[in-house]
Each structure stands twice: as structure tokens, then as C-alpha cells.
């Protein structure tokens, strides 16, 4: 029956089944990676994000959930200006974190 709206697949994930060895390596190198609360202040203040896709919040969430392939290319749009660092309420050194993500996930900046 067509109700005019549809059902999406359940997005529940079993954290214990995720393959997140790279995220663990990142968290070891950069403990700040686990401090993010996903508030999105970084994304809202990002100059690169106005012109191209760049959302540090989305990238961090995708790394934690092991679904990063679609999001990692965003990192190439970052200008490393550091504006996000000024607004992050968790005091995360976002620029350093971005460089570490590039290093561990093999992204060229």
C-alpha cells in the first residue's frame, strides 16, 4: 500500500562489530578524537564549507561509525585556517586532528 511516505532501513549498528582499528590508532595518537560532542560549531564556522563540502563533525562521526569512505575526500577542501579551533567548545585542536586523520587514513592534504 502506498501511504505517500516510506520506511528507511534501521540504522542501528552493533558497535562491537565495527572494524575501527584505524579509529583506535587515531584516538591513541590524538585522544581529542573521542572528545567531540558533534555540536557542529566547527562546520558552521568553516570558510571552506561555504564553498565546498567540508564538515569536520560529519567526518569524525563517520570515523567512529566506520562509514568514512564517503566523507574522507572532504578533508582535501580544508585550508587549515584554524577557525574551527577557535569555536570548538571542547577545546579540540582541530587543525592538528585533521592532519592526524589525513596521516592515518592516507589522505593527501
Amino acid at each position: 500500500m502506498d501511504f505517500g511516505y516510506s520506511l528507511s532501513k534501521s540504522s542501528t549498528m552493533k558497535i562491537e562489530n565495527l572494524e575501527n582499528s584505524k579509529f583506535k590508532a587515531l584516538a591513541k595518537l590524538e585522544p581529542d578524537a573521542t572528545k567531540c560532542i558533534g555540536c557542529g560549531c566547527c562546520t558552521a564556522s568553516c570558510s571552506a564549507g561555504v564553498f565546498a563540502d567540508m564538515s569536520l563533525r560529519q567526518i569524525l562521526l563517520s570515523l567512529q561509525r566506520d562509514c568514512q569512505d564517503k566523507y574522507l575526500p572532504m578533508l582535501q577542501n580544508c585550508m587549515l585556517c584554524g577557525k574551527c579551533m577557535l569555536v570548538c567548545p571542547r577545546g579540540i585542536n582541530t587543525r592538528h586532528l585533521i592532519l592526524s586523520i589525513c596521516k592515518i587514513y592516507g589522505i593527501e592534504q
Partner: protein
Amino acid sequence: MIKEGKVKIWSDYQKEIPDDHWFYVRSCIRQNFFPAAEVTFLKILREELGKDIYETPRHTTCGGIAYHLECIPQETQMTIIARQFALMTEAGYENYTCSCVTSFGLYSETLETWHEMPEVEAKIRENLWKSCRMEFKVPKYLAHTSDLFYKFRNDISAKAKYRLVNKETGEPLKVVEHIGCHYAKMFPSKGVGGAEYPYVLAGMAESWGGNIIDYPERRHCCGYGFRQYHVKANRGYSLSNSYKKFESMEPYHPDMIITNCPGCHYFMDRWQYVIAEQTRKTYGQNGYGIPVFTYEEVAGLTLGYNPWDLGLQTHQVAVEPLLDKIGIEYNASEKYLGTGGKLICTPEFPMSIKCC
């Protein structure tokens, strides 16, 4: 978490619930879809427990749905609430209880706003005086109606005719409790057990003989979320949230769901039909759904009330398999009889979910 920490958090989230003398307001959704639940609430409190509970036909909506849909501003909504408080003051009551979880969240939000910003309260008092010539005192105690049944759960249990137990095996029924988001997620200190360990429904279910299922998406929203449902373009999102919960609870084979929120009750009941129509999937046994109840309906069942007086025929998911499991007596031919014993109508049965 270490045990001492848990004990401390738990003690921080205990709530003082007065024993008697309540001013009661109804819920818009429940009055329309499950009116017998509220009638049962009043009946149990007055007739079984001998409590004084007052209601007036002059009370209105709390404005919650319009407020959360951004159709009215907060000031208007607070003035509506101030009028309800004025009715309570007029009637000489100090304890306020509401049947709806959305209202409960809104009353908590309003009282908190006035506490933090007394100038807003002054403005609202002025609005109410100008519009209705009424004055009010803020309630001394605010409780959701499920808090009251939580408080009296053992008294209800002592009078119960049936237990939430499988009559064949003697095993406790597997119960999913679902607490409305606005009960304690916004103001944890206002709910029994807070947002981390809400115990209001679990306490009732355990006291009445059931076993609570702790499944992964237990604290997930039912999906209603006002704009998620009322804006048709978002409705699939609302449905998908309920779907996520059903998928998550399915492996634990729940016998029943108990909720304390009108919206949750409505959507967890009705969406099972929509999911069945769209995917051919049902979550109960033998092609039935998982029956969804309010805590008053469950209390009424354990006390031996006639299921049709509790309004269980207005549910989408058939309740009969559960009644049979507990051993509750009912007359199937009376299901759709009106008050004069006249057949009101027999609904059309869906194709993909079994009904009785």
C-alpha cells in the same frame, strides 16, 4: 559504573509525590484516541484507592502540539498554562497532575523558565489578567499521572486479580516499557529515576508480575516528534524511528509494550499496521503485532476490569492473544458493542497484520 556512583545518581532522581488531593488535566491525544485510559485512571484512583482527584471541563489543551510545531510562540503557550494553573488555584488545589507527557515536559519547562526569569512570569501574569481576568499560584507539586500509579503500584498489585504472568508456564511476561522523551530527557530531576534510569514504568510492570526487557534501542524516541509526523514530507522519518525500535526489540520476543506517553502509545500501536502493509513484517506471534498499552489499561486488566470497558477495542494491534496468555476472561462478541448493548460497527480488517 561503580555501584556507589549509581546509588548516588539514583538517589538524586527520587521524586516527592504527594499522597492525595490532585488537580487533574487530560491529554488531547488520549481523549480522542484512547479515552477509556483516562476514565480508568480516575476510576482506579477514586474507587480503588479512595483518592481525591479533581478535574474541570473548563481546562484546555496545554498548547504543546502547536508550540512544538512552531505555530504559537512560547509566550502564548505559557499563558495557556497559566490559565490552567489559575483553574487549579480557583479550585483550591496545590498539586497538579497531567495525563500527557508532552504537557508534563512543557509544564516543567514553563516553571523552570519562570524560576530562571521572574520577569517572564510577571509578563505572563499580566497577559492572563488582561485576557481572562484570572490570577494563579504556581503548583507546589507537579507530577505526571504515571508518577501517581508508580507511587501506588503496590496498592494496585495488592488488589490485583491477574498478574502479568503466562498462565500456562507460570513465567513472567516479557514487557517492553517505553517512556515518552519529554518525561525526563529534558529535565531529568523531574522524573522518577531521571533520564538515565527511568523506573516509573519498570517499577509498575515488576510490581504487577512482569519482567522488563532491556533491549538496545530501549531509550530511543518512538518517532512521533511533532514535526516529524505532522509534516507529511517527514513522516517516513517518524515511521522509521518506530521501525528501528521494533527491529531492536524483536529478538527478545516481547509479549507487550507499556507506555506512559499518548503519542508513543498511538504510534507504536498504529505504525505496526503501516510497517506490516509496507514490508509484510509483524512483530508478535503467529502474524499478530505486539500489543501496546497505557499503564492505566494494564492496571485495569490486572484489577479484572472488562477489557472492552478499558477501550482495548480501539487499539490497532489485537490484544486478545495476550489476554488469553494471561487468562483474562472476556466476551469476544461484546467487543464492538456500544453502551446500550448495540453494535456500533465492525472495523475492516487489514490484510498483512492479523487482528481479531
